[in-house]
Amino acid sequence: MKILVCIKQVPDMESRFKPAASGVWYDESDLAWRMNEYDEYAVEQAVQLREQLGEGCELTVLSIGPDRVGEAIKKALAMGCDRGVHVQDDAAATKDPWQIAAIIAAYAKDQGYDLIFTGMQSQDRGSAQVGVTVAEDLGYACATTLVGFAYDNGTVTAKRELEGGIKGVVKLTTPALVTCQLGLNVPRYPTLPNIMKAKKKEIQSIPVSELLKEEPLAATVSFHPPAKKGGGIVLEGEVGALVDQLMGILKEKTTVLR
């Protein structure tokens, strides 16, 4: 059985984002990079399945981007993936979801993966398109937003998160692709000894030009902070004074304090 998990490296979301000179994406300098949080759940689920299936199962992790994404790949290897694929692309951030999906599909199409895991969306772009589009490109069965996963003999039983706490249960016949939601599992920490061992695992490097033949379908024309909405009061200062100010406002503006 062959499994693929696709991950993205994104900035630490606590960072302060400022537009790059191009004006269409964030300035990448001075950012700390992390594995996309949704993808951590995807890797964990893939590794759990890998452990469930044992021998004869191969789990590959793929990421697209410049050299730095090698670190996200290593983290996934340390969590338990068997081998890595690094699609070298210094300009990955400028590609639209259609192109990113096309790159992954072009890599995966002759590899015969039975199952592909992705995060539900990335934390930085948040399009929630890439996973589904890869499945469409490859003709795989697909379910999104998984909060439950089980695999048995060619069938995936997936719990999809719907609105209001309801879950929809669907069965997929492999080959299939699933996108993972937060809370699906508890992603493990890659232990330091496993990080050392991951050094010995193979990471295949592929230039993006070998895989990408598609033009973008959408363009980002601006990246900017949200417009500040007027009206909200910002209170700052010493805690005691803040409490008094807030009490005053609540008494005046709401009916809940008597």
Binding site: E71, Y189, P190, T191, L192, I195, E236
Partner: protein
């Protein structure tokens, strides 16, 4: 020396995440209860933190000193008591075996120390032999193929948790100074080995220190590190060269966190209708702290690189430890000043760190001992 930068970065990211999610949220509780919950120690064990410096052939990570320090700088963004748990295994409690141990001793202890299955402890200091360690009185008298140890060891870090003690004792009373001292590996449970009461400390609550008492404690001759008499003190000094650099890194890590706390407060706290960070007298304190942290960080990393090139770092490690430990106390003092009254209140981490970091100027050689080492080395070079 960094062998593989991206691997190190993954480790650093992991430790950062662990510190943020699993250590910082619990540091106040650990301090209040004077105890680190078992689950957290188990998690530290699983993460592999105990094996940072132990060679790979003995199941450790075999990090170079520069790599080890890069990890420690992150780990010490949380309360120093967490570092203290692994500190003896990574440093003084294991290094003697790594440096001078026989193959058999290494095989017996290092894998367990690396996994954190056992805790190692370093028992050098005595009630009457602190800075003047070479004057230690604990005796080891040969009796057949055993030695009988007698004496008291004081302020021994992690002693209540330790399974194996590196005990320094005088095997040759004829030699008054360093040459008569040997290092023994004494296991917990050995008849004659007992522990004193936990000391009540100014800070670093949650980390434990007590006396180790040796009363006719019989150990086999094979318990001497390296199975050679008279090299113990030299071993201790070599251990301390490296561990002083490690402690200097601990100081830099803690200082970084403390300054971070002070900065956050300074930009949030408003007086005279503006954040206090906009006042130049506050800015001066922030800037001085930042510069001193940068200086200490540079010293520590440079010393580590030199160590990794197998050069003698006796002077540099003492310089780093002296500067970094004095520096972190100044940074903590300024942080309290920036927080004003709040800095004196338990609710703020700065108050706790202020007490915690005071120890760094005292243990593993006081600042004054570092000055002596540095000056002695300087004079030796010209005479």
């Amino acid at each position: 020396m960094i062998k593989d930068e991206s691997t190190l970065n993954v480790m650093i990211e992991t430790v950062q995440k662990f510190v943020k999610e699993r250590l910082i949220p619990f540091e106040e509780q650990c301090s209040e209860n004077d105890e680190i919950p078992h689950e957290i120690i188990d998690e530290m064990r699983e993460l592999g933190l105990f094996g940072l410096s132990i060679p790979e052939e003995y199941d450790g990570l075999g990090l170079t000193l520069e790599e080890e320090i890069s990890v420690v700088l992150e780990l010490c963004q949380a309360s120093p008591i967490f570092r203290s748990v692994i500190g003896t295994n990574v440093g003084i409690g294991a290094l003697g075996i790594v440096i001078d141990g026989t193959e058999e001793q290494k095989k017996k202890y290092l894998p367990k120390l690396a996994a954190g299955e056992i805790i190692g402890s370093f028992a050098l200091t005595e009630p009457d032999a602190g800075s003047d360690a070479a004057s230690l009185r604990t005796s080891a008298v040969k009796d057949g193929d055993h030695y009988v140890l007698n004496g008291t060891k004081r302020f021994i870090t992690n002693a209540p948790e330790a399974s194996v003690f590196t005990v320094f004792a005088r095997t040759n009373p004829e030699i008054k100074g360093a040459g008569g001292i040997s290092a023994f590996l004494v296991e917990k449970g050995t008849p004659g080995l007992s522990l004193g009461k936990n000391e009540k400390k100014m800070g670093q609550w949650g980390g434990h220190v007590c006396d180790v008492i040796l009363d006719n404690c019989r150990v086999p001759a094979s318990a001497i590190i390296g199975e050679k008499e008279g090299v113990g003190f030299k071993t201790a000094m070599r251990v301390l060269d490296k561990s002083r650099t490690h402690i200097a890194a601990v100081c830099v890590g803690a200082a970084t966190r403390i300054l971070d706390e002070a900065l956050k407060y300074a930009v949030e706290r408003k007086q005279f209708n503006k954040p206090i960070a906009e006042f130049q007298l506050i800015q001066a304190m922030l800037a001085d702290s930042k510069s001193e942290i940068y200086a200490a960080r540079s010293m520590v990393l440079e010393t580590a690189r030199k160590y990794d090139l197998k050069k003698n770092i006796s002077t540099e490690s003492s310089c780093s430890k002296l500067f970094a430990s004095e520096m972190v106390c100044r940074v903590a003092d300024r942080a309290v000043q920036i927080l004003g009254g709040s800095g004196y209140i338990r609710d703020y981490a700065v108050e706790r760190f202020y007490r915690d970091v005071r120890l760094f100027r005292l243990y593993e050689g006081t600042s004054q001992i570092q000055q002596l080492i540095i000056a002695r080395n300087m004079i030796k070079e010209v005479s």
